[in-house]
Amino acid sequence: MSTPNNNLLDRLVGLSMLVLATTVFLYYTIWTLLLPFVDPTHPLQSAFPPRVWAIRIPVILILLGGAVVGSFLGMVMIRSNRKKALKAQQKKAS
């Protein structure tokens, strides 16, 4: 019943998650903790946006994530309530 050889896709997805997590961690750590000690004229600084964004981007992502999760929860609850109300109506009518 399970699709054969899903293993390759699984490994690829897992590997990409690993790479993404490591990249994010390294980039963000260098951005926030290392750059203050680096000369403002060093060429490395050009690989990173101004540091204000190091705060804004995670905050925006967290708020977006919260909004997505909240709306998903809300939709599921509304749908389940509607189904319950429909069933109660059908029971009364029968």
């Binding site: 899903n6 897992g14 998650m17 690993l18 963000y28 995670p58 905050v59």
Partner: protein, 92 residues
């Protein structure tokens, strides 16, 4: 000492150490104080997220299919369904 107590006390410890640094109650070099200390909590959150993603990816990459367990699970689900329907519980 329960797990909750342990976690709570470690959390309080870290929070108080950070408060001391944040409020400037301990003398620190100006560069560290102005640029690094305020950013530490968000850095911790982002690093924690990256760590969770890492753990997830590792689990997904190393999980092997177990066809026997899958079939056994399907069988158990069908048995439970039949059993519950017999007893009058709505399934699905």
């Amino acid at each position: 000492m329960t797990r909750a107590q342990q976690t709570l006390s470690i959390g309080l410890l870290v929070a108080s150490v950070y408060m001391v640094a944040f409020l400037g109650l301990a003398p620190l070099p100006a560069k560290i104080q102005d640029d690094i200390i305020p950013v530490l909590p968000i850095w911790a959150i982002v690093s924690f997220g990256a760590y969770l993603l890492f753990k997830l990816g590792y689990g997904v990459a190393t999980f092997n299919d177990v066809p026997e367990a899958h079939q056994e699970l399907m069988r158990e689900i069908q048995e439970a369904r039949a059993d519950l329907q017999k007893k009058g519980v709505e399934v699905d």
